[in-house]
Amino acid sequence: MNVGDTLPPLEIAVTRTLIVAGAIASRDYQDVHHDAALARKKGSPDIFMNILTTNGLVGRYVTDHLGPRAVLRKVAIRLGAPNYPGDTMTLTGTVTAVLGSSVEIRVVGANGIGHHVSGTVVAEVAA
């Protein structure tokens, strides 16, 4: 694995089910993640994915690529364009640093309205 290597992209269909299932699996009952009427009242056009689900998907994207023996050390993400139902998020990744068994990967998740997430993942890769 070398700096500049890219990970195969992963397309995530942002379904209403995924948004709600991710919110509940992460114990996040904020109404904007499951109640469209209340989300609209708060200025959002629809429910949107919570940050814990995005975090989980970013982690999954990296470990899918590195394999089950890889150990996540750090996941740092920033959210931008929300993930609304009906959209597709495409995760892409680029290796930005390699130090011994540690690898740093820059991850971007783009949806139909922009960059939903950008972040950095550091993992230890089994020797």
């Binding site: 991710g22 992460s26 708060k42 200025g43 629809d46 919570n50 940050i51 989980g56 959210l79 922009g114």
Partner: protein, 316 residues
Amino acid sequence: MTADATGAAEEAARFHTLLAAFEGQPAAVAGHGKDAVNEPMIRHWCEAMGDTNPAYTGPDAIAPPTMLQAWTMGGLSGHSDRTSAQDELFALLDGAGFTSVVATDCEQEYLRPLRPGDTITFDAVIESVSPRKTTKLGTGHFVTTRMDVRAGGESVGTHRFRILKYAPARRPAKQAEPVGRKTGVQRPRPVVNRDNQGFWDGVRDHRLLIQRCTSCATLRFPWLPGCNTCASPDWDTVEACGDGTVFSYVVMHHPPFPAFDPPYAVALVELAEGVRMISNITGVPYDKVRIGMPVRLEFQRVDDDLELPVFRGSEG
């Protein structure tokens, strides 16, 4: 900048001083995870995420590291571990109208994997509260907290979390339109800024507000920061009574713009108060609109997020 805007900026700075006093105070003390790390919650998480990593199943299973925050969540019954500082900060923000919340950043470091049976405790501190920021969602303050998570007393990770506590914008920015309706079929969004916010606030309340110079009493429309007659920056508003006449108009045939269905009339309506505004005429076919036609203000919902003042004409 208007006197009003200057006052608002000073008020925002004063408010931020109150908020900044919370920096360094605890947000949660000796919090307890409501459930020990357990296989069912791990499985539910993996199902939701579509994560089939074999490291998360079987006798030697670990929890997905990105679940770190999930083990600390209050769930439907809420947090009992939040400090009064955290409650007071949020009450202060809520009281100032910043009632909505959205997470913007999450930075987690994992010191060791969590396994079923681990019992979670945590402490959190309010790291920073930003000055007032205007975002696509609305205006508000970013609040950053750092949480130290332990299992059986041993540090297992840190979790830094940034949220925006905000007052929702009157209408979502263009990026926040529902998927499927963003394919160029929506009316353009008005550009709302500090100089015309009051106008759009009025529209929301079904009031058509005209600016009035408080020095020379000249009415002006559209909204501007200062008076064209006497240059005074001070103003208040008067509500239009809603009656008007068509002062002039054109009929739009070509080119067609997305979300508009030509032919249609674009009218310059003279309000009873004397100012003129450009709008659409409803209730009358485009080819029946005439100069001098009496019209009456109404508010037309264009889509979920946009309502516009238009004028209903009466033929004959």
